[in-house]
């Protein structure tokens, strides 16, 4: 099937305006008759819930944490982009748009990205009005910093806790609606199934994580805002509970999964220390503003970093990419890091690390200024490694971080299932094959505050409110399925723990479907993953029962989905016979080791349809049409 993104026609800068004009509206008195189900309370879910409720819709919002203010967005550190051009350094909506399309290696939808850039400024204004304490200069104006993949300073930040502050802002807007009675929050509740009635999304089935109760909720539309799936690699920078379950179960109900192989491996994370490791910690990209990345120029140089003379250091990013240097795009920096470590130049345990050095910045700006900019990151680094990054360089290594792939959506953020909308990291998004730093927060909030409120109305206006109730047979069937699966997991009583199996999956994914892949490695993964999945369903041990708080059961459900989803990633990566952005196929590279795209054959979004467990998924394509941008080789040199 050829998919249509349903972008409006006309000049790029007028498309959104045009769509706003075309879309149907729901009258004020009718809004309260509609119930919208929002799964997820990160930036996307919280901003959407608050805004939809404020408009008058009834909103039911679900999250697995004990409060919406703990969504994983809270851990975003570095900042949020907006084309404000406050520093007067040449930024514009067009430039932010172009940087994002280029950063994504020309695998995103032009019209979406332009809209994102166009609403970016409104996001900053909105957050300021909510009381988000962004960094200010001495005259009281908003400050900016630079992020990777851009030559202008357009990133707004609140110390090293931008995500926290933005989420608390959105949460406060949500609190106001909760008080007004227009939103009901369901914390500690996990969505385990999407309910589709007559081809439209009309509700969800959930498990209450305290009582174990399996319940259904009916609504007129469902918004999935459940975040990314990097935990398929087991070790990632995501929160422990981050999962693919919500989107994957929707996939199993017919929603297409787009570009699952586009996974961002972030260059600056604290390296792994041992088997016990439960997650990896990101050191914000903002550090690359002032930190310089290097390795010793000679193999086996065991001297402490301070004793390696300047001339014997290889500042490999500055050397390979002189114009962007340490601020090259993430996929580029990650691969370059892996390369020097593969060559045996890496530092730290196992040689899997490179230095991120602040000595120059400290002598240029003084320790105080560096502390003001990055104090909390240095503290975090010290807590984990017991090393003082003011005195010796940090050691960093790439780690899985962000999912560019996600459920396929059209320009209105609606999936191929009418009534199912997907927002934030959960959709296949505006970031193509690689996301630039500080753009995820922007996208989540753009989706929630400024896009879904309009586009959902266009769908709802054509439906009858409350048409499907939770007593519909589909809901009963869905509850039975969920209950059956839960019981099965408990009944296995095998000998391996969920964590063990998750770690094994992570190793397969990292080794064969990781930062660089080949047809051979992917075929290997396609053999190993089903084997591991079979083992899981025979040999996993989940103690306790389903009718109580049972964290092992929660994890088991998520890992079971990862065990299917990993295979989907491998299929996608294997079919895409090109390298683009974060998807690096060893067979397709330029002589100097850069990604070699194949625009003739692969300038499309790959959207996969579920064809039964263990069956090969079916590929559908949405051709990417570039009306404005000229496809070019991405270069940070």
């Amino acid at each position: 099937m050829i998919l249509d993104g349903k972008c409006p026609s006309g000049p790029l800068s007028e498309k959104w305006e045009k769509r706003l004009h075309e879309m149907r509206l729901v009258g004020p008195a009718n809004k309260r008759k509609f119930t919208v189900i929002v799964v997820g309370a990160g930036l996307a879910g919280t901003s959407a819930s608050a805004t939809l409720a404020e408009l008058g819709y009834k909103v039911e919002v679900f999250c697995y944490q004990d409060s919406p203010r703990r969504g994983h967005s809270i851990s975003a550190q570095g900042g949020i982009n907006a084309a404000k051009n406050y520093p007067n350094d040449g930024d514009s909506v067009y430039r932010l748009f172009y940087d994002t399309v280029k950063g994504g290696d020309f695998r995103s939808r032009e019209a979406n990205v332009y809209r994102l850039a166009a609403v970016s400024s409104n996001i900053i204004d909105q957050c300021v009005a909510q009381g988000v304490p962004f960094a200010r200069d001495y005259a009281g104006y908003l400050e900016n910093r630079s992020f990777g993949g851009a030559l202008v300073s357009r990133t707004f930040y609140a110390r090293g806790q931008t995500g926290q502050q933005l989420l608390l802002g959105a949460y406060s807007a949500l609190c106001r609606q909760i008080k007004a009675g227009s939103v009901r929050v369901h914390p500690r509740t996990e969505m385990l199934d999407l309910v589709v009635v007559d081809g439209e999304a009309k509700g969800i089935t959930t498990r209450n994580l305290i009582t174990g109760e399996i319940a259904s909720y009916a609504g007129d539309a469902v918004c999935l805002c459940s975040g990314g799936y990097s935990n398929v690699y087991c070790l990632s920078t995501n929160a422990m509970g981050s999962n693919v379950t919500a989107t994957y179960r929707a996939f199993k109900k017919g929603a297409f999964f787009a570009n699952p192989c586009f996974n961002q491996i972030h260059p600056t994370c604290i390296p792994v220390t041992g088997e016990h490791q439960s997650k990896l910690t990101l050191m914000s990209e903002s550090l690359r503003n002032d930190g310089r990345v290097w390795v010793p120029g000679k193999k086996g140089d065991k001297r402490p970093p301070k004793e390696v003379p300047e001339a014997e250091r290889d500042y490999f990013l500055e050397r390979k990419y002189p114009s962007y240097g340490n601020l090259s795009a993430r996929d580029v920096a990650s691969r370059a890091t892996k390369e020097v470590c593969d060559e045996g130049l890496g530092v730290g345990p196992g040689g899997r690390g490179v230095y991120l050095d602040f000595a120059d910045a400290i002598s240029r700006l003084g320790e105080e200024k560096v502390r003001e900019r990055y104090g909390n990151l240095f503290e975090m680094y010290e807590k984990i490694t017991a090393e003082d990054a003011y005195k010796q360089p940090m050691r960093i290594y790439p780690a899985p971080h962000y999912a560019m792939g996600g459920l396929w959506v059209d320009y209105n953020l609606q999936s191929n299932i009418p009534g199912l909308f997907v927002l934030g990291e959960a959709n296949f998004s505006d970031h193509g094959a690689n996301r630039l730093g500080a753009s995820a927060l922007m996208q989540g909030l753009a989706d929630g505050y400024f896009i879904i409120p309009y586009t959902i109305a266009d769908y709802l206006a054509a439906t009858t409110p409350g048409k499907v109730k939770a007593d519909h047979a589909e809901f009963g069937k869905s509850r039975e399925d969920v209950d059956g699966r839960t019981r099965k997991l408990i009944s296995l009583k095998g000998s391996k723990t969920v964590n063990e199996l998750h770690r094994e999956l992570g190793k397969i994914m990292w080794e064969y479907v990781g930062m660089s892949r080949s047809a051979e490695s992917l075929r290997k993964a396609l053999k190993l993953i089903p084997e591991l999945r079979a083992e899981f369903w025979e040999n996993v041990r989940v103690p306790g029962s389903g009718a109580e708080l049972n964290q092992e059961l929660e994890k088991a459900g998520r890992v079971a989905d990862f065990l299917e989803f990993g295979e989907l990633i491998a299929y996608d990566a294997l079919h895409r016979n090109e390298s683009c952005g974060a998807h690096f196929r060893e067979e397709f590279q330029t002589p100097d080791g850069e990604a070699r795209r194949d625009d003739e054959k692969f300038c499309y979004v790959a959207a996969w349809e579920f064809k039964g467990e263990g069956g090969e998924p079916e590929l559908h394509k949405e051709p990417l049409v570039f009306e404005t941008v000229r496809l070019a080789t991405r270069s940070y040199k």
Binding site: E54, Q65, D66, S67, R69, R70, H72, I74, S75, Y86, N122, D125, Q126, C127, V128, A129, Q130, G131, P133, R136, D137, A139, G140, Y141, L142, A158, R159, Q161, Q164, Y171, S172, A173, C175, K179, V185, A239, M240, G241, T273, G274, H276, Q277, S278, K279, L282, M380, K383, I384, A386, P453, T497, N499, E500, R541, P543, G544, E548, L549, Q551, E552
Partner: protein
């Protein structure tokens, strides 16, 4: 290193709980406290026992989910550190470690080390916001904010809402939490307009949620993983007096 753990086990809210002894063997210094518990749990699952339930998510010290009292101190003895960021290098071989849930009247135990903190949410719902609509707001630079105010607001806004302050307070008071939220918004020009209404609503909600009074023990500040200062409690009190004065003036003029 090898450790002896004494962990609070409680099946459910209405059950009685007790401390249970567990051995943690071959603990690496590089592990975080929660990773050490992961290893203990793996062992329990393998031996057909029930693992210990505890809250956690980001493991980066920012989401505020983790909530363990370690040797009598919420988040343990290391200053300005959530328990997920506490590393085992701060313990030594042979140590006995006592692990308990947050203890406060407003925080009923759900299971083992997990407590119900929804009372904190209800304080927020009562007025922890600026009443702004989405859209139609002025440019971010239209209202200038002095660096000093922006920094003070941020100092307060850093609160991760974990509830350690409440667990540490002999009265189970939510004063530091509420004060941080009130101060964050009251320090900014955008939040000034509703400052009086907000402080009244939030302090009233606080009183109605089973939290105790503040009698200036300042245990809260000592355990706060983000170092939120008790000076914000003074700020809350000032805001409250101001609100009372405004109300009194208004009533007199009526």
């Amino acid at each position: 290193m090898n450790l002896t753990l004494y962990i609070w086990r409680q099946k459910g809210p209405d059950e009685t709980g007790k401390m249970e002894r567990h051995d943690a063997r071959d603990v690496s210094r590089d592990m975080s406290f929660l990773e050490m518990l992961d290893v203990v749990n793996e062992g329990l699952v393998k031996n057909g026992k029930e693992p210990v339930a505890f809250d956690h998510d980001c493991r980066e010290g920012i989401c505020g989910m983790c909530s363990l009292v370690v040797n009598g101190v919420p988040h343990g003895r290391k200053e300005k550190t959530t328990v997920c960021q506490l590393h085992m290098r701060h313990f030594k071989d042979g140590d006995a470690i006592y692990i308990e849930p947050w203890r406060a009247r407003a925080f009923p135990v759900i299971k083992d080390l997990i407590v119900d903190r929804s009372a904190m949410e209800r304080i927020m719902y009562s007025g922890g916001y600026i009443s702004v609509h989405t859209g139609g707001v002025p440019d971010g630079n239209a209202v200038l904010i002095s660096k000093e105010d922006a920094e003070t607001a941020m100092d307060a806004a850093e609160c991760i809402g974990c509830g350690a302050c409440i667990a540490a307070c002999p009265n189970g008071s939510a004063m530091l939490f509420t004060a941080a939220k009130v101060s964050h918004l009251a320090t900014l020009p955008q939040g000034r307009i509703e400052a009086a209404v907000r402080v009244c609503a939030m302090t009233e909600a606080m009183a109605g949620q089973g939290f105790g009074n503040c009698s200036n023990h300042y245990e809260c500040e000592a355990v706060c993983p983000k170092g939120i200062s008790v000076k914000f409690i003074a700020k809350l009190n000032r805001e409250f007096m101001r609100a009372a004065f405004i109300k009194w003036k208004r009533e007199r003029n009526d």
